[in-house]
Symmetry: C2
Subunit: 216 residues, 2 copies
């Protein structure tokens, strides 16, 4: 892998390349030019070339990209050529929805434990995994070499639980709680703040409608 | 509202301001300086001043921001001072999780109908709303002046369903299906691609671990 720093914007676009290349591959396409790929993805061919150049570039002039090779290389860059063991904390609606999401497993993200503070849920099975009490998290992390914790608990609990997970040696947190976690910088955090996403949509809707009214 | 175009990056940060100001307001804080706000939010005071200047700026030199006023103004900008009627399409785990998410209602996003293609679900009640067949979407949209559709259906269905919604006059789509929708540009789309978010986390985790190894 290249030594140079890759911008966050490029990284954020990689999964979308991965998705399109996966669909092309599954559809039997072996090669694609940056022009064709750009038409499908609705980004400029020059952006595609620039983005993929960050990784040394995989295209050959006038010959296009090898779809399967590029798909696999991006997969490696994204770290999904290897398995990741996950625990899920918070077995409410959202937690159960995520646990049932088959695609994660297909991508090598394997849930090894589901935990909740609500004792009424203990023993309930979600996707073959029983919901267990919070005080069993540590043992589960030691048993399965857990990389990633998924936090689907209320924001009032999340900061504290994240601190405990850090003390157990968690390396990454996928955070759905609507709060900023306070973790050391060697612990990776990816936030999914659903209500913020909905507000962005609402902003764009209002803005568009106002402009539309002004133009009438 | 100002006429000038506001960058996507600023808009993306607004909900976070809104959240912090809401917490300050609920905690009884009346005024806050950009410096204090910057320490809480872990962004620079200069960024805060720049961001809020986009909206004419609400601060007074040496006096700080009026928390409640700023909270309400950002709420207006985000369009959540007014109610939005939603329909939810796809009553699987994720759809039900979203329907049960109380916070959306608190922010003025009201779900008026839940629809699914699976007839086994018809009549099942989620948060006081019965799950109904897809062919009742149009009538529901006409009855309730629906702004936003939430799509929590498989990606194989999403493109087609989005086209139907557009023909019924939908104005905005909150898309959880892992596919890019093909809608006219006067229909706003906000994508939540969960597996892409998880891949970003996996990328950062791998990257960090590699750098760590290299430095040893």
């Amino acid at each position: 892998m290249e030594e140079k720093e890759i911008s966050g914007a490029v990284i954020a676009r990689l999964p979308r390349y991965f998705r399109y290349l996966g669909e092309l591959k599954d559809g039997g396409t072996e090669r694609i030019s940056s022009k064709e790929l750009s038409e499908r993805m609705k980004v400029t061919a020059s952006q595609i070339r620039q983005d993929l150049n960050n990784f040394g570039g995989f295209g050959q002039q006038g010959y296009g990209y090898n779809v399967k090779f590029l798909y696999e290389e991006i997969g490696k860059i994204l770290g999904i050529d290897q398995k990741h063991n996950l625990i899920l904390i918070g077995a409410g609606n959202l937690g159960q929805a995520l646990a049932n999401y088959v695609n994660f497993e297909k991508r090598g993200f394997i849930i090894k434990g589901i935990f909740d503070a609500n004792e009424k849920l203990y023993g309930k099975i979600v996707r073959d995994i029983p919901i267990r009490p919070m005080n069993e998290i540590k043992a589960c992390m030691e048993e399965y070499d857990i990389d990633i914790a998924v936090l689907t608990i209320p924001k009032t609990e999340a900061v504290k639980v994240a601190e405990v997970l850090v003390s157990y040696g968690i390396k990454a947190i996928w955070n759905f709680a609507h709060v900023d976690l306070n973790v050391p910088e060697d612990v990776m955090v990816e936030n999914v703040h659903l209500s913020e996403s909905l507000m962005k949509l609402s902003y764009n809707l209002n803005r568009y409608q106002e402009e539309h009214r002004e133009n009438r």
